[in-house]
């Protein structure tokens, strides 16, 4: 199968076969990071621009390391320090970037849909590294990769997702992705954090944390955004931890071989207790490791491979 998409904008636009191809490719990339010399020439001569207009640590670093391991030339620009700070429009900035002939633009933006706007106007590939509260496809794909690696498959699993669904692009992409691949997704949070009609994405809303994690094969905790407490989404970290924090008693309700995930950054003692985060079921750091391989696969599929065969 050939991957024919120019861009990776969301999970919704990928069919199960494409998702499987991405995950298979990523598994193949994983070995490169374990070599003494962690570099292959696959994308030599390709230019990748990392255009991040929102704070990011692991996603940006992961995309950057992935580019370097494939020998691509990567450059990063941020909102501060770019012409955007001088009042240039997003489209003008992007058109100027494109004029320098990059092969891939990886972009993160605070507005939902920004990556679509850009992708429709440029000839190079665009990878969405997070747009507003809409989508974060590379995170959802690395989550699916991690679960498939651990469990052997995704179909038939129960995924429990607890946290601020309303403001999470990770949640939306994961719900769509995991349900598309045949998992049952159950979400739970204070109702102030669950958007109306979320079931349309393919999940069910559990009445309690206990019901949500019961018999779950995978528990995915989302970060509580402390800065949103002023929006009166929840009263206090203490009450949140009591109602919706993952602790060992709640883990015990899940499948006995449950996998615990968190896209980071974690608030220890709020949404997840330290003994669970560091415990034997946790694969939070494996997610980060897989993130590099998954992003290498995305670069390879949109900018390398058979579509852009390396003439060397």
């Amino acid at each position: 199968m050939r991957f024919t998409k120019k861009d990776i904008l969301d999970i919704h636009s990928l069919d199960p076969a494409e998702i499987t191809l991405i995950l298979d490719t990523a598994m193949g990339m994983k070995e490169i990071s374990q070599r003494p010399v962690k570099k292959v020439p696959t994308l030599r001569g390709k230019t990748i621009v990392l255009f991040f207009q929102e704070p990011s640590t692991r996603t940006k670093l992961s995309f950057e390391i992935a580019a370097k391991r494939l020998s691509a030339d990567s450059v990063a620009i941020a909102k501060s320090g770019s012409s955007m700070a001088k009042g240039e429009t997003l489209m003008d900035t992007v058109k100027n970037l494109e004029a320098m002939k990059p092969d891939v633009i990886v972009m993160r933006h605070a507005s939902s849909g920004a990556a679509y706007l850009v992708a429709n106007r440029v000839n190079c590939s665009v990878i969405n590294a997070g747009d507003g509260i809409h989508a974060h496809p590379s995170q959802a794909l690395l989550d699916m990769m991690s679960v498939r690696e651990k469990k052997g498959c995704i179909k038939g699993l129960k995924l429990a997702m607890i946290g601020d669904i309303s403001h999470s692009r990770v949640a939306r992409s994961d719900i769509i992705g995991f349900s598309k691949m045949g998992a049952r997704v159950s979400v739970c949070a204070p109702l102030t954090m669950i958007p109306a009609g979320i079931e349309a994405l393919g999940c069910t809303v559990a009445p309690s944390m206990e019901a949500c994690v019961a018999d779950a094969d995978v528990i995915m905790m989302l970060r509580i955004q402390k800065e949103r407490m002023t929006d009166v989404l929840f009263p206090s970290e203490r009450e949140y931890a009591g109602c919706f924090g993952l602790n060992s008693q709640r883990v015990a309700l899940a499948h006995r071989d449950v996998t615990i995930m968190h896209p980071g950054p974690m608030n220890r003692g709020v949404e997840i207790s330290s003994d669970v985060a560091d415990g034997k079921y946790s694969m939070i750091l494996d997610q980060v490791t897989n993130g590099v391989a998954l992003r290498m696969a995305l670069y390879y599929l949109v900018a390398g491979g058979s579509r852009h065969a390396d003439t060397d």
Binding site: P190, L191, T192, M229, T230, D231, V232, L233, F234, P235, S236, R238, E239, G242, C243
Partner: protein, 194 residues
Amino acid sequence: MRTLIKGARVLDPGNVDGYKSILINGQTIEAVLDPADVMPENETDLKVIDAEGLLVVPGLMDIHVHLREPGHEYKETIATGAAAAARGGFTAVCAMPNTLPVNDNSQVTAFILGKAKAASRARAYPVGAVTKGSAGTQLSEIQDMQQAGIKAVFDDGRPVETPRSCAAPEYCRGLSIPVFVHAEDLSRERRCHE
């Protein structure tokens, strides 16, 4: 020990309305008897209350009561409020949260319940504050208060305004706890007076 309440107008809205007698055995109402029915009489263990001209109703409940304690004991205490309620036929009252300190945490809730229990008159159902100090900026620990015994939440005397008007009821729906509303838009009121 059985008790017979005789000759009262028994009113249980939507259910019973008429001149009847009530036979009580311990904690249980054994029978509601019509005047034509045979009354137990001259039993050794029977207390008869002649209630002719009186009204017998189920225990009434007042859902908006200020017991004022803690903080405003010069106006009312839980003991005096609960006694007055019982005297007037109210077996339960909802205690408003605008005390000093405000009933916005489980310690105040526990204090009110403890005082009401000690008073041993009308039952108190504490109502917690929606927001801390009823100040309207941050949600109270409603689930924590619910575990301590509140039956509803309310920022008494203050309307629940945006954005709380959206967030607070949603949060409470998840806890299945009622939200009382003081339906007043302060900003509009101010404009009317200008």
